[in-house]
């Protein structure tokens, strides 16, 4: 356990020292500013009396909920991107440069190196998600005094989603080069993304084959399904009746999907440890 914490601490310090955290914060702040401004102007537009009458409070709230989901959608995407970016180089880079040689020849287990990196990156992601997710909710609250329904559950799922991508990246990084790792992970993410849309359109057109294809893709990579579940949680009950939107799913994934994703993560982490333990360095 001690070694895991040492490596986790090293991973965190590296992200801070190499200004990765700073870059993520600057971009994140830029996004929040843009988001806040956009939200502000949309609200002003809605409140102008040009329409002859003000939209009803219900209508306003649905719009704000939609805006909140749009923000969370970006947060989800940023977390996934950051997860892949900070992890892709972690094992692959150290293996390629040879840094790893002085580390793993100490009297430690290689699994501790993998778990330490996992824990360090998981901590970073938690910090990043708290800021970004918290930022979006704060903007929405400041402008509209509205909360997202089930926000804690929604954010937890977005966090879990980023952990899933981070774990997959770590597993690839234990055997592939940094570049190949990036390729595989973004490929898998793209597949899930596309699969999600196929499923949505399939649901809309009531095409069973398209729906099955979508489900199949989310078994290969459950990230889109996790987002859909998070979005379903944070969508207001009325809006979810309205049906298809770019950010929410027509069919909410079942709880079984979450169980599947948890198993997926654990198995992937197991593979990462096994591959790294067995390989020649």
């Amino acid at each position: 356990m001690r070694t895991i914490l040492i490596i986790a601490n090293l991973t965190l310090r590296e992200a801070i020292r190499r200004k990765i955290v700073l870059a993520a914060l600057i971009l994140g702040t830029a996004f929040l500013l843009l988001y806040g401004l956009g939200f502000h102007f949309i609200r002003q537009e809605m409140l102008r009396a040009d329409y002859g009458r003000l939209p009803s409070t219900t209508m306003q709230n649905q719009t704000f909920n939609f805006m909140l989901l749009a923000g969370m959608y970006v947060v989800n995407f940023l977390c996934i991107a950051i997860a892949a970016l900070i992890t892709a180089d972690s094992l692959a880079g150290e293996i390629q440069s040879g840094i790893i040689q002085a580390t793993v020849t100490k009297p430690i287990r290689r699994s501790e190196v993998v778990l330490g990196k996992w824990l360090g990156n998981a901590t970073l992601l938690l910090f990043y998600l708290s800021l970004m997710g918290g930022g979006v909710m704060l903007v929405v609250w400041l402008i509209s005094r509205l909360y997202a329904p089930n926000w804690a559950g929604g954010l937890a799922l977005i966090y879990f989603n980023s952990l899933l991508i981070m774990t997959l990246t770590l597993a690839c990084s234990s055997s592939l080069s940094t570049l190949a790792t990036g390729g595989v992970v973004f490929g898998a993410f793209g597949l899930a993304f596309l699969g999600g849309w196929v499923e949505r359109i399939g649901t809309f057109l009531e095409n069973r084959t398209a729906i099955d294809l979508g489900i199949f893709s989310s078994l290969l990579m459950p990230s889109e399904a996790l987002w859909n579940k998070a979005a379903a949680l944070m969508t207001s009950p009325l809006a979810s009746l309205m049906g298809i939107t770019p950010f929410t799913s027509a069919s909410e994934p079942s709880a079984l999907m979450i169980v599947y994703a948890v198993i997926y993560l654990l198995v992937t982490l197991g593979i990462a440890i096994r591959v790294f333990t067995k390989r020649d360095l």
Binding site: E14, T103, T105, P107
Partner: protein, 306 residues
Amino acid sequence: MDQKLAIETVDLRKVFGEKVAVSGLTLQVERGEVFGFLGPNGAGKTTSIKMMLGLVAPTSGNGWLLGRPITDRNARAKVGFLPEHFRFHEWLTAYEFLRLHGQLYGLENGHLKQRAEELLELVGLTPFRDSQLRTFSKGMLQRIGLAQALLNNPELVFLDEPTSGLDPVGRRLVRDIIRQLRSEGTTVFLNSHLLSEVEITCDRVAFIKHGEVVRVSQVSGLIDGSTTVTVRARGFTPEILSNLQQWGRDVRADGENIVLSVNDEAVLPEISRCLVQHGVDVYAIVPQRLSLEDLFIQVVGTDGGL
């Protein structure tokens, strides 16, 4: 397995796909000796070291470090390692770097702090204690890497090309540190291309070719025992040549020269007296010490083992 040995390997073999990197390494290094590991490029030296340190899994064969199997991570608790082309987390400062590696050895904080300062002093980097490694020259990195390998007061140290990238001052520093380690009873396993370094620092050397040990020699024995003497002289007879055999081996005539191998240069005056007494005109007596380089070429061949 012998507890008195620092390193023991029996038929360690590594095959990468079709390529045999190490065909069968059998080696015994005693505790307290400075052992040189020599061989041409591609002979499997680095792969051998990596197998001993658990970086590369052997295809077959066994090995022990300080009496523990190489597959046991605790075998490395009292082992230090300076990898070839040493790389590191360059955003760490020299002190943070030593602290990190000391923690990985499981050293307790108070002791680690003191040990890190001591080692910075030993390798002459105390003034750069708080500089990031990215600002270090190649030689400074080699020094901090060496300090890293000594953090745990190891009983066995692997140095893979420790002097590559060092200037003469740095090379002398490494030499002095190896001497100090030997005087403290630490076993040093040295892989170096610089034969002159090995000649000065090592007690014994192993020559490896195609991933096999082809010869193990005492360094002092090899040098004292193999002085070739060339005598330029006129008027010698086969009887005189056979007479010379009391002082040396492989006596032969080579045109105007007599060539023989002696064990000790102290016999040269006697050879000279004998020749003069027998009426031979002596123009020159030239002892040529067989250097490690000559032996290397002799053992490994000029093809470089390819």
